[in-house]
Symmetry: C2
Subunit: 341 residues, 2 copies
């Protein structure tokens, strides 16, 4: 009888951070592909695009004019999914139909005045300015009494629904804590109560010892492919020190965080020799006024590509109805990313 081998045999892996499972099918990378191919964005962009609503000095859809900003720039999303003015209220019928009004604020953050850059093209010092702005926004929004959670994220590439290539991200801040952070909150809190250490500290210690899934690290952060990664080249940036949010980060850690983002995104662009698409975002302590001592600061990167610049992983039928499934193992993905450092 063969011995069970993570590198060869179909298996499920447990996501300790959410409590959910992913199906891993290592042998499946061999199947032929005849399906949809994505288009590659190849055009070179100008430093300034007069038709771009995010470039300095240009007009936005709402009619406002952007300032001639020279570093970062933040503004309220003219088409935000959340609004500050939403009246309180709820709806319920028989316990089975339940809705609650949701107040919030949606903002857009330009990472750079340059239309032609992306994070990996930027200097670490300029990425650091983005980190500073994220910190300011997290603190300012988090202080509002109707904001209990702040989600900072970036959709990069048209394949990720990003409608403007100007380097930018978003912030959606809201009254309730969304589903994914709630899962992480429960798992982290339970772990902390039992062990008096953060789940991600203990997890990172294992990873730093095993080294198999580490992509790159610096003094304060490690970049790794999580053991339970869903997307082919999914990664996490985890702080080596246990702290919960950008309110508790040191100056040196901010530099190191910017450095990690730079290193990771530069590697990503080498995987298929294109500007690598992804959705990424920071998971930090809810701003609901409660202590969340178990929460450990981290950032997720979810890139959709699987085999090439034009072939993505489809999270469809089985994945939507069952659970996520991946082909190449996290260890193989980490090897590949590490080889591009």
């Amino acid at each position: 009888m063969m011995a069970f081998d993570l590198a060869e045999h179909p298996h499920r892996r447990y996501n300790a951070l959410t409590g959910e499972w992913v199906l891993v099918s290592p042998h499946r990378a061999k199947r032929p592909w005849q399906g949809q191919q994505e288009e590659v964005e190849k055009e070179t962009r100008p430093e300034y695009d007069p038709t771009c609503y995010l470039c300095p000095g240009n007009e936005r859809a709402g009619g406002q004019k952007n300032p001639s900003y020279t570093a970062t720039f933040v503004f309220h999303n003219d088409f935000g999914a959340l609004q500050e003015s939403t009246p309180a209220g709820s709806f319920a019928k028989g316990g089975l139909l339940q809705a609650e009004s949701e107040r919030g604020i949606c903002k857009v953050i330009c990472f750079s005045p340059r239309h032609d850059l992306t994070l990996p093209d930027m200097e670490v010092a300029d990425i650091r300015k983005v980190v500073d702005l994220w910190q300011r926004e997290y603190e300012e929004l988090g202080q509002l009494d109707f904001i209990n959670y702040v989600q900072i994220f970036e959709n990069k590439g048209i394949i990720m629904g990003c409608s403007n290539p100007h380097p930018h991200g978003q912030i959606w801040a809201q009254s309730s804590i969304p589903v994914e952070p709630v899962k992480e909150l429960v798992q982290q809190q339970n772990y902390f109560t039992e062990n008096n250490r953060s789940l991600l500290s203990d997890y990172l210690a294992i990873e730093l010892e095993e080294k198999k899934r580490i992509v790159v690290e610096n003094e304060h952060f490690a970049v790794l492919v999580p053991f339970w990664a869903v997307w082919p080249f999914e990664t996490m940036i985890i702080s080596k020190r246990h702290f919960g949010s950008l309110s508790q980060i040191t100056e040196a850690e901010k530099d190191a965080f910017a450095d990690s983002i730079k290193k990771l995104t530069v590697i990503y662009d080498k995987v298929f020799n294109i500007s690598f698409p992804y959705s990424a975002g920071i998971h930090q302590t809810p701003t609901d006024g409660q202590e969340h001592p178990g929460w450990h600061f981290h950032m997720h990167f979810y890139p959709p590509l699987l085999r090439s610049a034009t072939i993505k992983k489809f999270m469809v039928g089985y994945e939507m109805l069952g659970n996520p499934q991946r082909d190449i193992t996290p260890e193989t993905a980490a090897d590949r990313l590490r080889s591009l450092v």
Copy 2:
């Protein structure tokens, strides 16, 4: 002060079947779109395609030859994500790294010998043959002692990662119960224990009374946009009688189920005047030998399109890191679908 209105204001809705939430932003359908456009598949297909590995009499990748089938045809997936031969085993490190081997069987089901048809093009009597095959497979696979859950599904359209337009679906049958069915199991079981009626019976009773989200119905099934729908035109087919699986369905119900699938998919094709892409699948009782008296047979349809044949809903940044978000309300979507009956 304005009154809170589900049709106007951002809100969260509770999914009673999974216990999770979705963010609804009714006002947001107005925002302009400059992002990725999907390609429309417009080619007319031949009834028989000599290069199609699913057409009768043709050769598959593995070298086997398809029979000259005249109705449905099922075979083992040559590149299945699950394998029967997987050795038992597990892996654990510190409770934080956990993996378990997973045995299973992946099959492909051709719905028709005709290369040029899709479910909405087929006669109800021919769809009924597909239902018969689903029943047979559910029962045969479910009887195997290492199969505790059978997921029947279809990915339709290249946008859903479907690599061959020949009408077909899949079955992934496996040892463990995947994440989504587990959520539904817990919610349905809790509800049943408390109320001694199935969650979906009580939910359907509300919907049939309100009529707002009902798309179409027949004697034994209703098609509706669930109150908690995530995808713009997401629907469910729910049986009017409470039963758990295709093992308990009557002959009349099988006809009515086929009729519901036909009616729904015909409507879908009218939404944007194209062959409407979706992933769909049946959620039925796990085959783990336990009683699951709360489980209520249903089928989910998850179509990706939002505004037109070429503009889909992107479940990206906020959705991946926070929770799903939708623009048009389920009530608006149901109105639209109902108007196409």
